[in-house]
Symmetry: C2
Subunit: 332 residues, 2 copies
């Protein structure tokens, strides 16, 4: 089968012909139709150290068709179109076929095109887990406030929609006219400029005691002190970006505040007992996307899936300026 | 009225005669019968900087009788015996009379003596808020595991009981024969030695992936790396002890783990809208103490309440070796 991979020979992506894998146990064999590129792809590329004849296939956000199933599969059958983010410890979706555990997969939203659907799984799972599993937002939190730092990125665009949908007052951050417009379109009621300190801007909006929740989708170290100040007593901060440098935690003590990380590959990497939650999230999200409660965050499509296009996509993601989501569609 | 205070003249406690305060608004005037000494008392003593003629009265854990009420009080009436921890930003309970907001007060457990009841409020609120408000433990968490670091201290003794009561598997830490016996008496199913690394001890007990919850009631910086290792994927750590030094947060990212602080004075200090929760906690805890579901953690009583006894009590607390709770009872 065709694949785009990394080898020992070069740091460039290479068009390869490799053996098609065989599904066992809970795995589906999926024929890939469109993939989406995320910051995790560029991070994994940087972290990849290849020895010997190994080939590394990246890509964890895809739409495709189930063409074969493992012996223990119960949730899907061949012929179904599915969408999924997958498991970063396994070969990814820059390939004609990939293996994916059924518990990490949802049926593709019917009313969305392939590229619209491919844009969604990784960021939807991330935003969903951050809001509902890490920050623990529940129905009774309606009316509370959330600050979403970097509202116009991939995760921000869906987190803004989900937070607005459950009745939170959403304050997103953006710094360019086009990102401000984008995040307002998805439900942000206030937009702050993340190039300036956020706490004074929140006070100006009337959030004197701070906000109930903060979701950080940008350099966490850079925003750390500002977030500690901006969170209200008993409030909660969640970040998807690692605190690479040590941090002072002192300001959070007085407020009995909480900090959590969201990493969407935790469930698959550690094979947690609640791994099937990602199947449930994707299923529920598909209903919401089909019903129009959620909108796709797709903003750019490249084609076809080959080394040159993947390289171009990585350059765009690395710039940090992508608004919404970038999808690469179809093999030649 | 009699009081034991700190003045500009000396760092020693001094027996004083000061004016009796008058209750307004939501305040109760309480005649103090017994008080309990906590680490917060010794920390507040150290942090106290007195200028001019000011007098600082410490003490935030008490039992007494309501003798007068403010005009907006609805929860209590005069003649009732009450127990409370109070508000660290106001004068404390080392005095014949103190003012306390009714929303931070509960009726004294009927079946407990004055000193048995005085031992409970501050540590019960702390343990309760840590387990149920910060770690967010709910009924469905029955059967999950919690590591309580320093199980035999004031908060540890009640946290162990509460955690065991809701059906968690409790692993407490202790290092001396008498503390091991104490923590087992209160419901710890396993006892680890916190003078050695905890993660290998947990693995030996069969907690290969770590524990679901960790409650740190000891030097948080010293246990930081060990706790990051010992918490399971998607697990939660709560501490009541400030991380005074900066910390690396990297290990928590991969696990989507959570860290929270519990500081029992957050609600009163910031006058949060849910401040009355402390009244509710003390009310519920009184029922549990009266019914025998919870046991008092009282372990030592001194008498009477004066400068010399308070000094002795502070020395005992500062040693860090107190098992359970220390109470000082009655004025001369």
């Amino acid at each position: 089968m065709k694949a785009v991979g990394l080898t020992k020979a070069s740091t460039d992506f290479i068009d390869l012909e490799i053996a098609q894998p065989k599904p066992e146990s809970h795995d589906l064999l999926v024929k890939i139709k469109a993939i989406s590129i995320n910051p995790v792809d560029t991070k994994q590329r940087e972290a990849t150290k290849i020895t010997g004849d190994e080939v590394r296939i990246l890509g964890w956000d895809a739409v495709g068709e189930v063409v074969e199933i493992g012996s223990e599969v119960t949730l899907f059958k061949t012929g179904q179109e599915v969408y999924f983010a997958g498991d970063v410890t396994r070969p990814g979706a820059y390939a004609e076929f990939t293996l994916i555990d059924e518990r990490l997969v949802g049926l593709k939203p019917r009313n969305l095109s392939l590229e619209e659907a491919a844009a969604m799984p990784l960021t939807t799972i991330t935003a969903w887990e951050a809001l509902f599993d890490r920050l623990g937002i529940v129905e009774e939190d309606e009316g509370k406030s959330i600050l979403i730092i970097n509202g116009a990125g991939g995760v921000g665009s869906i987190a803004t929609q989900l937070a607005a949908h459950v009745g939170l007052e959403v304050i997103a951050t953006a710094s360019r006219p086009e990102t401000i417009e984008w995040t307002e379109k998805f439900g942000a009621q206030h937009v702050l400029n993340h190039r300036e300190k956020l706490t004074p801007q929140l006070k100006q909006l009337g959030f004197e005691q701070g906000v109930d929740f903060i979701l950080c989708l940008h350099n966490t170290n850079a925003h750390w002190d500002d977030m500690q100040e901006a969170v209200r007593p008993q409030g909660e901060i969640c970040s998807i970006v690692e605190l690479a440098e040590p941090v002072k935690m002192s300001l959070l003590k007085d407020k009995s505040a909480t900090f959590s990380y969201e990493f969407m590959f935790t469930r698959s990497k550690y094979d947690t007992v609640d791994k099937v939650k990602q199947h449930e999230i994707l299923t529920e999200a598909a209903h919401m996307l089909d019903g129009g409660t959620l909108q796709t965050t797709l903003n750019k499509v490249l084609s076809p899936i080959n080394a040159a296009t993947i390289e171009e996509a990585h350059q765009i993601i690395s710039s940090g300026k992508m608004i919404g989501k970038l999808v690469v569609k179809g093999f030649e």
